[in-house]
């Protein structure tokens, strides 16, 4: 079966250099000052290839003002925006900016009706990775436009506006780096954690492997997030003809539905 196109987060310039020119890959550049959870971010003048820019910060009013400064002068190689804050969408609509718009809205796009409402404002929507594959299939079947599917990578499962690692370092007079790992003291759940000036992100310990999503219908892009992975691993993942489940077995939340009423445990 034919694979869909990949939207690849540009985790470092070397990866971009190596994969530039591949027909099936579009780059997504985390924009400096507008993102959390990425070790490498880009100023607009550092983006030399065609691609989207990523804005996943929730913006305060100062952030919105900064965004307004850049949005009217985007270089021609920026084909679109992937963003989380609905204030960005409002600015784009009010200024009538004609650019491809993809709504990320992390953790929220969990049903086809909400997604179809947003699709009346934007070109595509990233389906929440927090839902089961059967729920995703129903969304894809009922969506009015092709959607973006989170397909591979560690998943951003918590975003705090606090600088949690800095606070820890200050309190205990430590020098823990701004990218590190956590392990729950009792249940031994493990996570990865990353901080920048704008907040702290906790990621799953293992990368979610949804490579089986690469051939799903009604998909605009399959999103791959290389954070914490080496360039060699990413290139192997992109070029592989199998789903690599032996190397990357983690299904995240795709294979079981979450519960939300405690009595459901008894059913």
């Amino acid at each position: 079966m034919t694979k869909n196109n990949i939207l690849l987060i540009a985790s470092n310039p070397e990866l971009v250099k190596e994969l530039k020119g591949k027909d099936n890959i579009t780059f997504l550049f985390p924009l400096s000052g507008f993102t959390v959870g990425f070790p490498t971010t880009y100023n607009l003048n550092e983006i030399t290839t065609t691609g989207y820019i990523f804005i996943n910060r929730l913006l305060d009013n100062a952030g919105i003002a900064e965004f307004k400064k850049i949005i009217t002068n985007l270089p021609a190689n920026i084909k679109g925006l992937v963003f989380d804050d609905l204030g960005i969408l409002n600015v784009l609509m009010e200024l009538n900016i004609n650019i491809s718009k993809i709504l990320f809205l992390n953790h929220f796009n969990c049903n086809y009706a909400s997604i179809n409402i947003y699709l009346s404002y934007v070109d595509s929507v990233v389906i929440s990775p927090d839902i089961s594959e059967s729920e995703i299939d129903e969304i894809l079947a009922k969506s009015t436009k092709p959607l973006v599917l989170y397909t591979f990578g560690h998943v951003n499962i918590m975003y705090s506006r606090r600088t949690l690692l800095t606070n820890y370092n200050n309190y205990f007079h430590r020098q823990v780096k701004n990218v590190t790992s956590l392990e729950d003291d009792l249940t031994h759940h493990k996570f990865k954690i990353m901080e920048n000036l704008y907040g702290t992100v906790i990621y799953t310990e293992k990368p979610f492997n949804g490579l089986r999503y690469l051939t799903k219908p009604n998909v605009l892009y399959n999103l791959i997030n290389p954070v914490f992975l080496t360039n060699a691993e990413i290139i192997n993942i992109i070029n592989s003809n199998t789903t690599l489940e032996n190397i990357y077995p983690y299904n995240y939340l795709s294979t079981q539905k979450t519960i939300y009423k405690l009595k459901e445990r008894d059913l």
């Binding site: 929730l58 913006l59 305060d60 009013n61 952030g63 919105i64 804050d85 609905l86 204030g87 960005i88 409002n90 600015v91 992390n106 953790h107 929220f108 969990c110 049903n111 086809y112 009706a113 909400s114 409402i117 947003y118 929440s128 927090d130 839902i131 729920e135 129903e138 499962i157 918590m158 975003y159 705090s160 506006r161 606090r162 600088t163 949690l164 606070n167 820890y168 309190y171 205990f172 430590r174 823990v176 780096k177 590190t180 790992s181 956590l182 392990e183 729950d184 003291d185 009792l186 249940t187 996570f191 954690i193 906790i202 799953t204 939340l253 979450t258 519960i259 939300y260 009423k261 405690l262």
Partner: protein, 395 residues
Amino acid sequence: MIELLAPAGSLERLKIAYLYGADAAYVGGYNYGLRANAINFSFDELKEGVEFAHRLGKKLYVTVNIVLHNAELEGLKQYLEELASIKVDAIIVSDIVVIDCIKKNNIPLEIHISTQSSILNYETARFYQKLGAKRIVLAREASREDIKIIKDKTNLDIECFISGAMCTSLSGKCVLSNVATNRDSNRGGCAQICRWTFKIANENDLFSMTPKDLNMSRFLEDMVNIGVNSFKIEGRMRSIYYIATLVYEYRHLLDKIINHTIKESDILYSNDIINRCANRESTAQFYDKFPTEKEQYFLGREEVSNQDFLGVVLDYQDHMLKIEERNYFKIGDVVEFFGPHLEPITYTINKMYDEDGNTIKVARHPQMVVYLPFDTSLPPNTMMRLKIFDKNDYL
């Protein structure tokens, strides 16, 4: 419009909130709410709650703020129509499909955007305003400056939390619970993983991300001045004593602010009462600064529980207060009564009687009925607590 907004996890707590001075209360209905563990309201309870509120000229809001999955779409319209049929004053929403359903079907429900949407700027507020939102519940991370700008640029009703627990995460942006326990945090199942402790890298000191509670008592007047309309207390799972105490204190503070009679001593006294009731340290968090390590816990949850809540007045007859006991008290204890429209009254227990009229020295069984001699009538639902703070000490 200035509104004191209280939480309620049951009909009893809802009525206490109103009686103690809340202008409005918010509750979870029988579906689509974010506190699956709270004792959410049945249709009949909601109906009774609305009627009770409206008789007092007050308002009731219902949370419909989960992030819906496909399966939950069915039944949404009917649920919203049921809420409208009993004249709920507004619903608190975060998923756009709920707003769309109301608008498409002309369901007469006022829309408030939940703090789950983590709104921090006026452009996001405007987006929701265009969709028909009347009110925005701002992210707890909003600074004073951001709140003011959002109000000035949108003139929407602005609702801000003033008290209670904080998420570590921006609201709606956390699924730690889903991953660690399979309980869906954005559908009411949050297991509060952010309050666990963690080992970090190779360090010996445990990592914690637990924030201290929010307490805005010092900044209420400023919040009024910059245009905040609704002052929201967190805690739908809290007790009647907690709700009575916080509503009572914040009501007094807001009234004095509105009447321009507020003094520093009022704030300091209320602050101590609130903090003791909440059991956790509290701070203004993001309002006046960017939080640092001082706004978090690191060495475990430093919660101090107490047994200050001694009883509830059930009745007054023949110069006797009929009290339902909640915590141990005894002859010689100095206690305090506080209640709706009642300044705290200090009282030393010199005599007390059981239900059969026998003299007793201690009341040791929760919910036992105790009679205390008292000169004047106190209304039912007046609270009796151990006297810890004396307002005169603050003057």
